[in-house]
């Protein structure tokens, strides 16, 4: 299924910015089940030092500077993506995936092999997810038992987060500690993803943060409105001998073709869509508009 994504990020500055350095993680990755057919980025001002590279996690990083004074930064990306995740998703429900118990998973993680070594770094603390909350561990243990399937337990964990946590935009921001989210049980998609990741890491399982988009489907019979889609985040757990499996706790579903992946990392900090340092004096206002269409 081909999907077109348009993502517009706008910063309006209170005072002119004389110079800015920026980094964007806005180019979607290609992997099994997702192929980027076309991609373009447009920046409102003339750029300087424009370059692209691949980061430690394999994500595309775009680096650019704006050298002329500007009041506004508008970054527009347009991509055409062939998303065909159904077969990958089907495999999640197969025996090789579902049969791995927590006990066998933890044992397999002790083996030294390139895949395991690579996955194991996702058990460790990361910038925004510090594994030091007893509450998180206790919450996870309600679903995880040594002889239970990791897939099933994770599935249940996702469902519990969906049920127990309230979606409240504006309650949290990127610097809100996870312990507060856990306590108040409120937040947005990246909080839920990071709660799940913290839970999984607390029991010794590798978990990573997925950054991307989700296509919202209009109510039956209604036409879709522009701009109702959004940046989105979910998580994936590593099941030894099988691989990475995605879960979306915000929507209580295993991602299929409405989810588009931009990139992944240990947490939000590794894959912020757009960040930068500006030389200026005032504040700024942010506006994000995402539009996703099947074509």
């Amino acid at each position: 299924m081909n999907i077109s994504v348009s993502h517009i990020t706008t910063y309006n500055y209170d005072a002119p910015v004389s110079y800015s350095h920026n980094i964007a993680t806005l180019k979607p990755r290609t992997f099994e089940g997702q192929k980027v057919l076309d991609y373009s980025i447009d920046i409102s001002s003339k750029t300087n030092e424009f370059s692209e590279r691949i980061d430690f996690f394999g994500n595309y990083i775009t680096r650019f500077s704006i050298t002329d004074a500007h009041n506004k930064l508008k970054v527009t990306t347009k991509s055409i993506i062939d998303r065909d995740y159904s077969r990958v998703r089907e495999r999640f429900f197969s025996k090789p995936c579902k049969s791995v118990t927590l006990e066998s998973a933890l044992k397999m993680l002790q083996v030294i092999s390139p895949d395991i070594i690579d996955a194991k770094q996702f058990i460790l603390d990361s910038t925004l997810i510090k594994n030091n909350n007893e509450a998180m561990h206790a919450y996870a243990m309600e679903s995880f038992k040594l002889n239970r399937s990791v897939f099933e337990a994770t599935h249940e964990l996702m469902a519990r987060i969906f049920k127990d946590f309230k979606f409240v935009p504006g309650f949290t921001n990127i610097s809100t500690p996870l312990s507060k989210v856990m306590k108040e049980k409120k937040g947005v998609c990246q909080d839920f993803a990071q709660i799940a990741i913290a839970c999984l890491r607390s029991i010794g399982l590798p978990a990573r943060y997925m950054s991307g988009y989700i296509e919202t489907l209009p109510p039956p019979g209604k036409e879709k409105l522009v701009g109702t889609d959004a940046s989105h985040a979910w998580f994936a757990v590593y099941i030894p001998s099988f691989g990475w499996v995605d879960f979306d706790p915000t929507n209580n579903q295993i991602p299929e073709n409405q989810h588009i992946v931009l990139g992944w990392g240990r947490d939000y900090y590794d894959v912020p869509p757009l960040k930068g340092v500006v030389y200026g004096t005032g504040g700024s206002k942010l506006n994000v508009a995402v539009d996703i269409r099947s074509i």
Binding site: T67, I174, G283
Partner: protein
Amino acid sequence: MNLDKNPLFKNYFKNISYDEMFTPSKEVKSSWLSLYEKLNALGSDVLTNRQKELDWLLLENGVTYNIYDDPKGLNRPWNLNSIPFIIHNNEWKHIEKGIKQRVKLYNLILKDIYGARKLIKNGLIPQEVIYAHKGFLRQCDKINYTFDKLLLVFAAEISRGPDGRMWVVNNRVEAPSGIGYALENRTNLSKVHSEIFNEMNVKRLTDFLYKFNDLLINVAPNKNENPNIVILTPGSHNETYFEHAFLASYFGYPLVLGNDLIVRDGFLWMKSLKGLKKIDVVYRRVDDAYVDPLELQEDSHLGVAGLLDVVRKKNVTIINPIGAAVVENPGLIPFLPAISKYLLDEELILPQIASWWCGQEKEKDYVLKNIKKLVIKKIDKSNRESIHFGMYLSDDEIKEVKNEINKRPYKYVAQEHISFSTTPTFSNGKFEPRKMVCRTFAIACSEEGYTVMPGGLVRVASKPGNVRVSNQRGGINKDLWITNDDKPVLENLYPFKQQKSNVITSGLDDLPSLTAENLFWAGRNLGRTLSVARHMRVVLNQFNSHQSENKRPDSQKIITLLKSLTHLTNTFPGFVEDDEDGNSALDNPITELHALVLDANRYGSLTNTIQLFSNSYFSIRNLWSADMWRVFYDIKSIWEKLTDQDVITNNLIVKSLDKLITRLIAFMGLIEESIKVDQGLLLYFIGLRMEQNLLTIAKVRAIVVPKYNDYTEHELLIQLLNSHESLNIYIQTYRSNINRENVLELLLMDVKYPRSLAFMLKRLWKDVSRLPHSNIEELHNYEKCVINAIELLNAQKITDLVKIKPNSYVREDLDTMLENISELLFETSQSITNRYFNHTLKQEQLASQNFTTN
């Protein structure tokens, strides 16, 4: 020799395990014999005197270090013991080989970690040792560098273990400090013990520093033979700021802060007075995570946004490369022998302490069981506070540490508690054995791979029984002497080959704008200190001869002088107006006078002004000469002595002011001959003259503008001349009674008198027109302001200015003219600040990025 009877070594052998100077049977070891005999011959009194001389030298040269989180910890004097630590060249050759092997090994490990990561993939290093270390910066993965070695500067700390061999205790790679201190130690100690130093054939350090300079030049991108090199410091509050400034002035490279630098067009630039200057090499003393707020620590103001990408583009070289801290990692120690086998096919030459990494189940269990015998360290925190000595922990603390280890076992390493050797340290007239650790240094060197400094920074415990050795805890330093049986070949005393010298500090255009700003403010604050001190002295003298009680003065002269002090120091309401509660300082004049002199928290007080002057002075300490340090130290101690007194009298203040003023004048003289105009003396002069003009105007306005009876005015004019140090000149020039018109003519209009406003404005004009952007097509605002001020003054005649309207009590025309000139000067200052020191555009993060929906 009978050591037990030698008073120098009284009680030395109590509680001693093994010592550097003595064998267990109290025989002096052969390598120390010569030093032992020489010290004995000198005796306790001479040694005490030499220690004092050494302390004095260090104080005078301003050798300091700072302690974080301690308000009194800034600029602490450096504590260097007069007894060196000695290693004979025969032993040193072996140590040198061992250090070279270590640095080679760590270099290869570092390259692998940011490259193929074979060591992890092949199971030689557990992944957590790297991935859980906060120094592993994923942003630095797979960067290609312009030179083949990654590790360019390396420090290894060594101590002598129970087996008599030197052990490697730990290593420093992020931004190792100590090379400058070691050099400073050597310079001062060899002065104090010059004859011993010469007779003991000590290896010299010069050649190493010469190679260090070569390194800075050779690593430049594109093999540029004349690279622009800067030393990046976190600022004057950093614990080793002295060393940053010292190395900057030793090598002659600009000392810069993050805000002095900027990334544009894929290159790194320094903001200088003239404009941007491309930088090729950064010797940085800022920690890894703080060097680039764009990609690394976002709230850092110590670095430069975008720097890492300039490194990726191979347009700048950072020493050491960003990310190096990952091998400052005790978690590697247990695996080092195997890594050495794997990478070099060599056994480790220097032994290391037995270490257990808790990320392994068996090792963790051992550590938890034997914790009381062990020293616990975090793999990525080398500060003393995160090192736990099991034997000193209470049961509760042990529980806590065990708990931490269980939570994140891979973050911890435990090491055997080793009792290292002691070395004789001179203290209170005799020798005491102190635990020692020696920091040695190696740098990359094109011909030989690495070269090791034939010396180092030795630190000993602050008390005889202490185990911990650290400057942060008030440790004592020693010089390391590598001694030889034969005379060493004397090297060039002056270190640098000219063909590779570098031109960056040679012109005013290249002056970093923060340095320029600090010089400007050093000038302004020094000018203010001197003018205020002089005026205060006059007011206090007059006050003393008039009254001694703390009550409202009845003399108009005294009241006017007191008020002039408020004007001069800008400490309103002061003597000029009543405060919010309707009280007047005039009712308690002594209280207010003392506050104006002593109150450090009162903006405008003399103590406060001296503090401001010291601050701007410290921020550019790399420019000052040794004599200046001596005088500066004098100024500070005169003032500290006064402010430390319990009972302070007016007379005491006046005496201190006398001393202060003499030293300030000496200091100003020294500045003029110690710094070149190109190095920024011009900025200092501009600041100085601007401030002196402003204060002359403030004085004249406060004293001459109001009209009083003839007697009072006459008296006030004399005091004005006194405050301006112009009474003698007046008498010689006019040979007449004090007369208002003549006084004003002399102080304001006389173009031949260097202290007059007219003369100083002319000098100011000359100076500002030499600034890099002056005299280009159109006049700058600051140039216009100075010209306008000169024209305003020229347009007036004193005889007109002093005229007074009937029924008026002020000389309005004089007042208006002076006010206008004063405002023009303020505008000049503002305009120069905007043009040359504009740092208002600081780097800020884009608004925090919240997901907006879903």
